[in-house]
């Protein structure tokens, strides 16, 4: 089972990194989502996978009998999912704004229209730019 999860994490990371290197903004966003999911599954599988033993002390016992499903990584993943979802929401809004401003969904095209890279000429076309 751990092997399957490891392969899954690898596949998700690979897919996420591949999508991030695309030109289209939406594909980049999908890549960001996949990377987030990959990290979450990695944390989930990090404490070992235990089936059918939730970390709840039964009524008649004093302590938890191991092995049990480790609750700490699950708590971490919840936090990471929430952070990831907030980031994706922001990234979506940002992509929409960039599309409105540049009129294109293509990173290369946007770079051509509004060059910001280190090689860009110092007097890039002036937008409604504060300072």
């Amino acid at each position: 089972m751990e092997l399957l999860f490891s392969i899954l994490v690898g596949a998700l990371y690979a897919a996420g990194l591949y999508m991030i290197m695309r030109r289209s903004f939406v594909k980049i966003l999908i890549g960001i989502s996949l990377l987030g999911h990959a990290a979450n599954v990695l944390i989930f599988s990090s404490a070992g996978l235990v089936e059918g033993r939730p970390p709840i002390i039964p009524g008649d016992a004093e302590t938890l009998a191991s092995p049990y499903a480790d609750p700490l990584p699950q708590a971490l993943i919840l936090t990471a999912i929430v952070i990831g979802f907030g980031i994706q929401a922001f990234a979506l809004a940002l992509i929409k704004r960039v599309f409105d401003a540049t009129g294109t969904d293509d990173l290369d095209q946007a770079e051509r229209l509004s060059p910001t890279g280190p090689d860009a000429p110092p007097s890039a076309p002036a937008g409604p730019e504060p300072t």
Partner: protein, 504 residues
């Protein structure tokens, strides 16, 4: 009292942000609240620094949960110093924003500034790796918003690149966190230090995790080969925000590297030293070569950030008390000079009409004070005595000599000369020479209101120049402090004992 004090740097910006959001319809009230908030934050961080100077380390287990499982806030000497610097920068930038020129209002952005400060302070106080991740994300999202706020297409495209690369860094950080938990079964930094101390030799498979942390914090700290997001995004933001980002964001990355490698992976440093030294050499040289090629003030300054980060990594790579003390001192000195340079860049844009070198000239004849301030900040960056930058570089060079790493010392001196040359290029093109008044128009409308705004913006500039001079002359107490901080960090047993209450 110390327990409550430690919560303040997180609580105060949070409450200020909430109050600012309540005052959403009234920008002036927002600004006032934000300023008061940063004032209280500055006072709180000053008190923490004073307390830590006496007792060496304060810790709070939030909610009284066991430090092994719960969230702990730890302020050792390094954290307290970085908190104080963050608090001071928050105050100065808050003053600078009061004087933002008419076209450049960032109205309504005060709550986001406060959230950024909260994230930064939380990251400096975190005693648990996952908590560090959370504060990093808070800081990061706030920086995303500030970078893109109200911008035109150039700024938005720059912020997109910034967002993507930093999110990759976060994904790598999470992977490292997962692997740490898989390998050690704990995420508390004190517990990890304890495991490391008990095991003695470098931990098996620890190097993979250490390198993952290096990669993820390296992206945030902008070391080679991860720094390309910085010159693509920092030059597009206005001066106040540029100064804030230059001061804090990359330094949190360097702080995280220091914390992780001294507490959790000290055993790896011996074998990683040549690797880290080459990375720092490449970062320094590529940064300064990039700066020499640029023709716009903010681009030049962005590349210099990268170059100076390379210096900080030298101290980490050497891993001696003087080396790490040098890195800490260099962080403080760099924040003072670099923030000032960005703020001065904003004033240049206002008084000269542009930030491009070919459109500027002879600014010194009309604006002597601005020129003098620029000289103060630039020479501090380049490392000229009696300014503080000189001492910072000297300490790192001495550390290199003492460790026998003459190659990196030679490169550091060479890069220092090139940094000076680059600063002089800005000086001669912007401030010296004949005036090019005909082509320029100030970015702000003339008049008394604009002059007052400009005067307000000079306040943090003066403060930082005076600080650079003062710290350069009275360098002894600060250097002593950073040396003590380095000793404390290289002795994780004391950290473990203070946080967990047990000796390792």
């Amino acid at each position: 009292m110390p327990r409550f004090l430690l919560i303040l740097p997180i609580l105060v910006p949070l409450i200020t942000a909430a109050l600012c959001l309540l005052a959403w319809q009234r920008p002036v009230l927002q600004r006032v609240l934000s300023f008061l908030g940063t004032l209280i934050l500055f006072a709180a961080t000053a008190m923490i620094l004073r307390l830590v100077t006496k007792v060496d380390l304060i810790t709070v287990a939030v909610g009284d949960w066991s430090p092994l499982f719960g969230i702990v806030l730890v302020a050792d000497r390094l954290s307290a110093l970085m908190l104080f610097v963050a608090g001071s920068i928050a105050l100065l930038i808050s003053i600078y924003e009061w004087g933002a020129p008419g076209k450049n209002t960032m109205e309504g952005s005060s709550p986001i500034f406060q959230i950024l400060f909260m994230g930064v302070c939380g990251a400096f106080l975190a005693g648990d790796i996952f908590n560090l991740y959370v504060w990093f994300e808070v800081m990061l999202i706030a920086s995303f918003v500030l970078m893109a706020w109200g911008g035109g297409s150039i700024r938005l495209v720059g912020s997109l690149k910034y967002v993507i690369l930093n999110l990759v860094a976060s994904a790598l950080f999470l992977a490292a966190v997962g692997l740490v938990y898989a390998r050690f079964g704990t995420l508390s930094m004190a517990d990890l230090a304890q495991v490391q101390l008990q095991q003695g030799d470098p931990i098996a498979k620890g190097r993979l995790i250490a390198l993952l942390f290096l990669a993820s914090f390296g992206i945030k700290a902008a070391i080679f080969p991860f720094f390309f997001w910085l010159p693509a995004s920092y030059p597009t933001v206005p001066a106040g925000i540029g100064g804030l980002f230059a001061a804090l964001l990359t330094k949190v990355g360097v702080y995280a590297l220091l914390r992780i490698f001294t507490l959790v992976f000290p055993g790896e440093m011996e074998s990683l030293r040549p690797f880290l030294l080459s990375i720092s050499a490449l970062t320094m040289t590529l940064g300064v070569f990039g700066a020499l090629a640029q023709e716009e003030i903010r681009r030049i300054l962005s590349f210099h950030i990268i170059s100076q980060i390379g210096y900080m990594i030298i101290g980490l790579a050497l891993f001696t008390p003087i080396g790490i003390g040098g890195t800490i001192f260099f962080m403080v000195s760099h924040i003072i000079s670099k923030t000032n340079l960005f703020l001065i860049g904003g004033l240049v844009k206002d008084l000269g009409g542009s930030t491009e070198l070919r459109r500027l000239g002879g600014l010194f004849h009309r604006h002597v004070i601005l020129g003098a301030c620029f000289l103060g900040a630039a020479l501090s960056l380049a490392g000229i005595p009696p300014l503080v930058g000189f001492w910072a570089k000297l300490v790192l060079i001495i550390a290199g000599f003492q460790s026998g790493q003459f190659g990196i010392v030679a490169i550091a001196i060479f890069v220092s000369l090139l940094t000076l040359s680059s600063m002089m290029k800005i000086w001669t093109r912007v401030f010296w020479g004949e005036e090019k008044l005909g082509e320029i128009e100030p970015a702000d409308a003339p008049g008394a209101a604009a002059a007052l705004r400009r005067a307000v913006r000079f306040i943090p500039v003066f403060a930082l120049v005076l600080l650079a001079l003062a710290l350069g002359i009275f360098v002894e107490p600060v250097f002593e402090y950073t040396l003590e901080a380095a000793h404390q960090m290289l002795n994780p047993a004391s950290y473990v004992e203070a946080v967990l209450g047990t000796s390792p």
